[in-house]
């Protein structure tokens, strides 16, 4: 189905970016810039909701909404057009990206107030929305890659937003370069996909005049690869999947390419919330789920994804335990939760992964914005060791962050519980297709459960250090070393922030190092900042109810309320039955994953999409309920343990190795960066550049100089010399003609 409204979703933010860049820099009116930026994203969100939920909308029909914007590349068999497609998967993604993006834009209007680069910030933020929506709505790999690079560029621009701070610039470069490594994998994956299938499209679109199957349809004709290490280098589906996963690992900050994300916190906090928590970093998950037809042909690649995901989840959670910067804790938490999503992808639970992406977008955006509110209220202090007791001063921020805390810890009713529980259950019951043995799936579950425990512990630590306990900020100076401290107050009045005006909602703008003792209390943020927090808190509370698994909902009601699963089921591929890749030609033979194939139930007819609905056996339901109970116990244990330890000793010294992030940055520095630097300096610069390139140029110059020095001897200035030269020339000419005539 064609619908040209689809292009409005991506072009509205682009128009907003252009208006803010060209007009906003002249107008410099924050209200104008803020309205343009938020209005552009709101337009996208409204159109997205209309297209998703209107009759025949993307989430309600089997066929994607297509929009062929213009013809781009057509060379022989190869064609990649600027064409958009909104199916159930991209529709779901677009909904939460535009909605959460809109809330964060609103928050940023409050957070960035008084900043000298206000117009620049919102131009970049809108440009990011354009790139992200292009990535999600692209109907082929090439356009997706355009969006993929676009979000990388905007991430670079926004991490390095504070132009006068070196560490922001360094972090931006680090993010960009690390992503290049991933992009290499993505590009190679795309090329191999084209080589194998002869197409780069996701959807067959006869309306645009392109015949033939899409890449994702054609890949199904290949035999399923075996579960062997050779398959990685065989050039088939497994090779494609591994290469695509390298790309996803770069963008979504998985081991070993995760190092850029913690540093990316040098950007403004709304950027961390929008790009480095809610949307961009989940692009890797989106890409893998979009390419799920490829991954279900590649059990080895899926196993790699699962193992890397689980390892990243645990690894980042342990680091997050010992960080003192409130944003760093959340950054490692994000990496850890992304690991969960990849773990889910790796065991074939693509829907659970997307579900977790959505709930994570809600509660992690909430936590980041809440931390932004705290940082703002604390006059740009980010070190939790210098906070404490803030719940009295920032009641709304406190209340909303408590919801985020409970959501990420996995307390029932809150959003994170359902998605995390779903992932853990799918891992526990992973079919043998992509996991070598059932022991392996239990080990992966154990890692996931341990991570869940650690998540609850470090989030409790963060909350306790920030909101409870002694008011440690009274002893210190205003954030002389805080990351964003200097950025505000660049071009604003230097008026001191009086204690009496705390409740009036205005913001203080302090110079770094300005003493704040005594008269400078933390203050609650203005409504533009708290309102998005409240909305996100509501979503973090009830957002999980779109995906309540049958095992839990059946306690209360007979209706099947797992909307997310029914919505996404047609959009993702399912794994073939577990026979380790014995040839299963044709998509028809691919059956449901084992845990979903069982006796029919009356619910079957009640569910939205009857064909895709799974039935549930009694044993599995009880097992799933038991696991859910275990998850709850783990979450409660984590919170209780964290509370007991850190409530008394919030400044407890944790192992140095955790605080120093396992020295991974140092190891990379020694193992990769230093050798590259040495090779560049000693080899490429001193030998190749100076020796070969400069040498070549210099020797050309030397030859010319030397020849000129010889030729100069002819020009002595003696008239008789010139006369002799003329004579010699004449003699040579005469001699030549005489010689020629004699020969003749």
């Amino acid at each position: 189905m064609e619908n040209n409204l689809l292009s409005i979703i991506i072009f509205a933010p682009l128009a907003g970016a252009a208006i803010n860049w060209f007009l906003g820099r002249r107008v410099r009116d924050e209200r104008f810039i803020g309205i343009v930026a938020c209005g552009a994203v709101a337009t996208s969100a409204i159109v997205a909701f209309y297209l998703a939920f209107s009759s025949g909308g993307a989430l309600r029909s089997e066929l994607p909404i297509l929009d062929h914007v213009w013809t781009w590349l057509r060379v022989g068999r190869f064609h990649a057009d600027v064409a958009l497609a909104m199916d159930r998967l991209s529709g779901t993604y677009v909904l939460f990206v535009t909605f959460v993006g809109f809330l964060i834009h609103v928050f940023a209007v409050g957070y960035m107030r008084g900043d000298s680069g206000f117009y620049r910030f919102f131009a970049f933020l809108n440009l990011f929305m354009f790139a992200m929506l292009t990535l999600v709505l692209a109907d082929n790999f090439i356009l997706m890659f355009v969006g993929w690079e676009g979000v990388g560029l905007c991430s670079y621009l926004l991490i390095g937003y504070y132009l006068d701070r070196k560490e922001a610039g360094d972090a931006a470069k680090k993010a960009f370069i690390t992503n290049r490594i991933g992009d290499w994998g993505f590009v190679m994956g795309i090329l191999l996909t084209f080589f194998v299938t002869g197409s780069v499209s996701f959807f067959a679109n006869p309306a645009s005049g392109i015949p033939g199957e899409s890449a994702l349809q054609a890949i199904k004709h290949l035999p399923v690869d075996g579960f062997t290490w050779h398959a990685i280098f065989a050039g088939g589906a497994t090779s494609i999947a591994v290469l695509l996963f390298i790309g996803a690992a770069g963008k979504s900050a998985q081991i070993p390419l995760y190092v850029w994300l913690p540093d990316a916190m040098a950007g403004p906090t709304p950027v961390s919330a929008l790009i480095h928590a809610a949307t961009m970093v989940t692009a890797g998950v989106y890409m893998i789920v979009r390419c799920s037809p490829i991954f279900v042909q590649a059990p080895t690649a899926m196993f790699i994804v699962a193992v890397i995901g689980a390892a990243t989840a645990l690894f980042a959670a342990t680091i997050g335990l010992a960080q003192n910067d409130i944003k760093k804790v959340l950054a490692y938490s994000t990496i850890s939760q992304l690991g969960y999503m990849f773990l889910a992808c790796g065991v074939g639970a693509f829907i659970a992964a997307i579900f977790h992406v959505i709930t994570h977008a809600f509660f992690k955006a909430l936590l980041f914005l809440g931390s932004g509110s705290v940082i703002n209220g604390m006059h740009h202090e980010q070190d939790m060791r210098q906070m404490g007791g803030l719940k009295k001063y920032m009641p709304i921020t406190f209340a909303t962050m408590v919801t985020g805390w409970l959501a990420i810890s996995g307390i029932p009713i809150f959003a994170g519980f359902f998605s995390k529980d779903e992932i853990l259950w799918k891992v526990w019951s992973a079919p043998a297709f992509s996991v070598p043995s059932s022991t392996a799936s239990k080990i992966l579950w154990g890692v996931g459960a341990l991570t869940a425990l650690l998540t609850a512990v470090y989030m409790t630590r963060m909350m306790v250090m920030t909101f409870w306990g002694e008011e440690r900020f009274r002893k210190v100076q205003a954030g002389g070393e805080a990351d964003e401290a200097h950025a505000h107050g660049v071009d604003v009045d230097q008026q001191l922030h009086e204690a009496s005006s705390v409740t009036s909602g205005d913001r203080a703008h302090h110079q770094p190092g300005e003493p704040v003792a005594g008269t400078h209390e933390p203050h609650e943020s203005p409504w533009v900042m708290t309102l998005p927090l409240i909305v996100l808190a509501v979503l973090s509370t009830v957002g999980g109810l779109i995906g309540v698994p049958y095992a839990l909902s059946s306690i209360f009601t007979q209706r099947d309320v797992n909307y997310i699963e029914h919505t996404l089921e047609p959009a993702v591929a399912t794994m073939p039955a577990a026979n380790h890749g014995a040839a299963q030609p044709g998509p028809e033979l691919i059956s449901r994953a084992p845990q979903e194939t069982d006796s029919a139930s009356p619910l079957h007819t009640l569910s939205e999409s009857g064909a895709g609905a799974a039935a549930h056996s009694v044993e599995e339901i009880s097992e799933e309920r038991l696991l859910a109970l275990v998850s709850v116990v783990i979450a409660l244990l984590g919170i209780a343990g964290g509370w007991m330890v850190f409530r008394k000793r919030p400044l407890l010294q944790l192992p140095r190795i955790l605080e120093n992030k396992y020295y991974v940055d140092e190891i990379y520095d020694a193992a990769l960066i230093r050798p590259v630097e040495v090779i560049s300096r000693e080899g490429l610069w001193k030998i190749f550049d100076i020796g070969v390139i400069d040498g070549l140029l210099h020797s050309i110059g030397d030859v010319v100089t030397e020849a000129a020095r010889l030729a100069r001897q002819l020009q002595a200035g003696f008239v008789r010399g010139y006369a002799a030269i003329i004579l010699a020339g004449a003699l040579i000419l005469i001699g030549f003609f005489a010689y020629v005539s004699i020969l003749r």
Partner: protein
């Protein structure tokens, strides 16, 4: 015994060679100038000799042109010589080996 063409040509060649040699070996700029005139007149002699031999007036025509050019050259050349002498008080060409005064 009537004069042959080759006689004229031999005289002309001798004159020309003397002129060339003079230009190259003489230092006095007036002497060089005279040698140049000698070369021009050697060429003139060849022209007339051939014109007579081929019964064609074109050669004689060229002689007039050469004479005109020689007259103009003499005017300009003598002017330059006087200018050099005023500035350097010498007529040695080797002294005037740099453009700068």
């Amino acid at each position: 015994m009537t004069p042959q063409l080759s006689w004229y040509l031999a005289v002309s060649a001798a004159l020309f060679t003397i002129g060339v040699t003079g230009v190259i070996i003489k230092r006095n700029v007036i002497g060089m100038f005279m040698c140049i005139e000698l070369m021009l007149n050697a060429v003139n002699l060849t022209f007339v000799a051939f014109a007579s031999f081929f019964q064609d007036t074109t050669g004689q025509l060229f002689v007039f042109i050469v004479m005109t050019v020689a007259a103009a050259e003499a005017a300009v050349g003598l002017g330059i010589i006087i200018a050099i002498f005023r500035n350097r008080e010498t007529l040695d060409v080797d002294e005037a080996s740099i453009l700068k005064l």
